[in-house]
C-alpha cells in the first residue's frame, strides 16, 4: 500500500513538474459554452502558446468584486463599458500594451487597461415579413400611431437593458423621462434577461425586441432566414463593445500578455462574426463574411464613456422606473 501511495505521489509530482503552464480566463457563460466562441479560441490559442487555457465561467462582476485582489484570473474577457468603471476601481488590472490605433471600431479607443474584442449596437429587431413600415427613428417609434408592441430587458438585471436606457438618455438628454413614458406605452413586457425577450419575440409574441444590430446575421447565416432585420434609427445607435483585460496578480504575466495580443490577431478576430455574432474589433472589412458587410448599419454612433455611464446609470434607471410604474 505504502509503495503504491509513494508511486502515486511521485507520478503526481512528476506530472505537475512537466505540466504546461495554465492560463486562467474568466468569461461569461455564453462565451465559454459549446455554442459560443470560447472553445475555438481555446483550441487556437493552445496551438501557439504551448499552454493550457482554462475557462472559468459565470457572472463576471460579482465574482471579481468578491475575489478582489485575490482573484485567480489571469485574463478577464467579456466586460462592457457600462460596468468597467467599477471593475477598474478594483485595481486588479494591468495595462494591456497593445496598439489600439488601428482598430476597426466606430469610435476612438485609447484605454490602456481594457481592450475591445468585438462590437455591435443596441437596436430593435423586427420581422420584416410582418412589420412592413418599421419606424425610421426613435421619435417615430415613440410617437407612432400604429399599435407596435416591443419587448425590452430590465436595466436593473440585464446589460442590454442598461444599454437601452443609456441609449435613450444619449438621444433625449434632459427629456429622457418623457421619452420613457412614451416608450412604456409601446412595451408589451419587460424581461429579466435577453434570452427571455428574444425567445418571446421569435415565438411571434411582439413586433419588435431589444437586441443588437448584428442579431439578423445569425438568422441569415445559420438559418438562411432573411426575415429578421434591425430597425435603423436616424438619431443614431448606442455603441456596445465587449472588453478583455489582464490582471496584475497573474502568475503567468507573459502568457496573459500573449493572449491579449492574440485577441487582436486575425485568427481570433475571424472567429468573432460567426462565433459571437458581432463585429470583430480589428479586422478589415473585406475579410468579414458578406452577410455582415451587407447588414444595414446606423450612420451615427452614440456612446457614453465609462465615467458618463456610471454618472447616468442610477439617474436614468430611476427615470425609467418612474415612467414604467405610472
Amino acid at each position: 500500500m505504502k509503495i503504491l501511495l509513494s508511486i502515486f505521489f511521485t507520478l503526481v509530482a512528476a506530472s505537475t513538474a512537466f505540466a504546461k503552464p495554465t492560463l486562467t480566463v474568466y468569461a461569461p457563460d455564453y462565451f465559454t459554452s459549446e455554442w459560443g466562441p470560447g472553445p475555438k479560441i481555446k483550441q487556437a490559442f493552445e496551438k501557439i502558446c504551448d499552454c493550457d487555457l482554462f475557462y472559468v465561467s459565470g457572472d463576471l462582476m460579482p465574482r471579481l468584486m468578491i475575489e478582489g485582489k485575490r482573484t485567480k484570473a489571469d485574463v478577464v474577457i467579456g466586460l462592457n463599458t457600462d460596468v468597467t468603471f467599477k471593475a477598474r476601481k478594483l485595481g486588479i488590472f494591468e495595462a494591456h500594451e497593445q496598439d489600439t490605433s488601428s482598430l476597426s471600431i466606430p469610435i476612438k479607443w485609447d484605454d490602456k487597461i481594457f481592450l475591445p474584442f468585438d462590437w455591435s449596437h443596441t437596436a430593435f429587431i423586427y420581422d420584416n415579413t410582418k412589420l412592413k413600415n418599421p419606424p425610421k427613428s426613435f421619435n417615430e417609434l415613440l410617437n407612432s400611431k400604429d399599435d407596435i408592441k416591443v419587448i425590452i430587458q430590465d436595466p436593473r438585471t440585464s446589460i442590454s437593458g442598461l444599454a437601452l436606457v443609456l441609449w435613450v438618455k444619449s438621444i433625449y438628454g434632459s427629456k429622457s423621462e418623457e421619452a420613457f413614458t412614451k416608450l412604456a406605452s409601446k412595451v408589451l413586457t419587460v424581461t429579466k434577461g435577453w434570452s427571455e425577450s428574444y425567445g418571446m419575440f421569435t415565438q411571434g409574441e411582439a413586433d419588435m425586441v431589444l437586441s443588437y444590430t448584428t442579431s439578423p446575421a445569425y438568422h441569415i447565416i445559420a438559418e438562411n432566414d432573411k426575415s429578421k432585420s434591425a430597425a435603423i434609427f436616424s438619431e443614431g445607435h448606442y455603441f456596445f463593445t465587449e472588453l478583455a483585460a489582464m490582471t496584475n496578480s497573474s502568475k503567468e504575466p507573459e502568457l496573459a500578455k500573449e493572449f491579449m495580443s492574440f485577441i487582436l490577431s486575425e485568427t481570433f478576430q475571424r472567429m468573432i462574426p460567426t462565433g459571437n455574432w458581432s463585429f470583430p474589433s480589428k479586422l478589415d472589412r473585406n475579410k468579414l463574411p458578406d452577410e455582415f458587410v451587407n447588414l444595414p448599419m446606423p450612420k451615427k454612433v452614440l456612446f457614453y464613456t465609462e465615467e458618463e455611464a456610471q454618472k447616468y446609470r442610477d439617474i436614468v434607471i430611476q427615470e425609467w422606473l418612474t415612467a414604467f410604474q405610472k
Binding site: D29, Y30, T32, S33, E34, W35, G36, G38, Y55, V56, S57, G58, D59, M61, P62, R63, M65, I66, E67, R70, K72, K86, K149, D154, R156, T157, L162, A184, V187, L188, T189, V190, T191, K192, W194, S195, E196, Y198, G199, M200, T202, Q203, G204, E205, A206, S215, Y218, H219, A222, W277, Q318, W320, L321, F324, Q325
Partner: protein
Amino acid sequence: MVASFLVAVTVGTLIAVICRIEGFSGLTWNEWTAIRFTFFQSFVSAAVSVLLAIPVSRAFFRQDFIGRNILITLLGAPFILPVIVAILGLILVFGSKGILSQLMGFSAFSIYGVHGVILAHVFFNLPLATRLLLQGWGSIPSEQFRLGQSLSFSPFNFFMHLELPMLCRVIPGVFLIIFLICTTSFAVALTLGGGPKATTVELAIYQAFRFDFNLSRVAILSIIQLLMCGLIAVLSIWIAFPAHYEGGLDRVRPIATTGKILDFICITCATIFLILPLAMILIRGSGGLFLLPQSVMFSALRSILVALAATGLATIMTLYLASLIVYSSKVYEIFGYLPIAASPLVLGTGLYIIFYNWIDPGKIALPSAIVINAMMCIPFSLRIITPAFRDLENSFGRLANSLNLVGWSRFRWLIWPRLKGPIGFSAGLSVALSMGDLGVIVLFSNPNHSTLPMEIYRLMTAYRMDEAFGAALLLLMLSISLFWIFDKGGRINAIT
C-alpha cells in the same frame, strides 16, 4: 443536527454576506413598493391556488377512471419546469399570439399584468396544492366515510364532520408553502407582470447583487424577505388546527356516487389549464429534440446525478427533522422553512465567500448545487411527510411503545411501511425540482460541468431556439419520468 445544519447554512451564508457590508441606509421607495407587491401577489397566488385545489383534489379523491394515476403525475409537471420554459409555455397559450387568443379571436385580452403573475403562479402551484390536499383527503380513514353513510350523512354533513376538519389541518401548511414559493419568484413575476410594476424583493436582491454589487443591500433585503416569510410561517403553524382521526384499517378509498358531473368538470378544467402549456412545449420541442448534440446528453446525465444525490440528502434530512417535529416539538418546523425563504442567490453567494479562500469554486460547483438543492427541497418534503408521520404515531405509537419497538426496528417495521407512499412522493418532487433548478450553479459554474437547465439558457443565448425547446422537452420528460418512478416506487406494496 439537521436543524442546526439548516440554520448554519441559511444564517451562516447570510452572515458571510453581512460581513461584507460597507454601510447601511434605509429602504428606498422602490424597495417598499417591491415589498408591498411581493406580499400582495404571494398572498393572492397562494389563496387562489389553494381555493382551486380544494374542488380539484376532492374530485380526484372521489372519482376513479382510467388514466387517473397518470393524469395525477402529469398534472405535477408545471411545478418542476425551469422558469424560462414555463414562461414560454404559458405565453404560447395565453400570450397575445397564443392559441387562446387565436381560438377566441379577440386580442383585447392581455396576459401581462398582476393577473398574469397570479395566473402563472397558480399554474405552477395548483398541482402542488392539489397533490398535498389529495394526500390530506387520503388521510381520512375510509371507515369514517362508511360510518357517515350508515348514519345517512348528507353531503353537507360529510363536509362539516369529515372534510372540513381535514382541510383546516392541511390548508395552512399548503398555503404557507405556496406563499413562500411565490415570494422568491421574480423572472415570472417581472415578465408576466408586464414590467417594473411587478418588481419583487427577490428582483431587488438580484439587482443589488449582480448590478450594483451592493452586499449590504443584498443582506438587508434578504433579512426583510426572511422576516416576511417568517411572519407567515409562524401564523400558519399557529393557526393550523390539530385534527386527528382514529387509525383505520387501510381499506380502499370510497368512490363517490353523487356529484360525478361536477367532479369531472373540475378535473377537465384543471387538466386543460395545466396540460395545454405543456402540450405546446411538446409540440414546439419535438423537432429540436433530435438536433441535440451529445454534450447536452452528458449534461442531462449530470443533472440526473445531481438531482438523485440532492434527493437522497433531502430525504434523510427531512425524515430526521420530521421525527424531531413529531417526537419533540412543533417548533422545529420553522427550521424546515428557513431555506426556501432565503434566496438561493444569497445562499450561493455566502457559500462562495466562505469557500473561495479554501478551494477552487469550480470544483465544488456540483457538490454545492447538491447541498443547496437538497435544502430547497426540504420544505416541500417536510410538508408531505410530517402529517403522515404524525398520523401514524398517533395511531400506532402507543402500540409500538408497548411492544418496545424502538430505533431501527421501529423504523423498519412501523415507519417505513406506512411512510413509503409520502416518502416516494416527496422524493419524486425533490428529484424533479433539483433537475429543473438553475440556482446557485450560475456563480460556481464550470464550463465543463453544466447541467441541463444551464444548457437550455446557453442554447437560447446562442440564438438556438429550436434546440433550446428540444432540450426543454428533454428536461420535462426526464423530470416527469423520475418523478413517476419515485412516486410509483413509494406506492408499491405500501400499506396506505
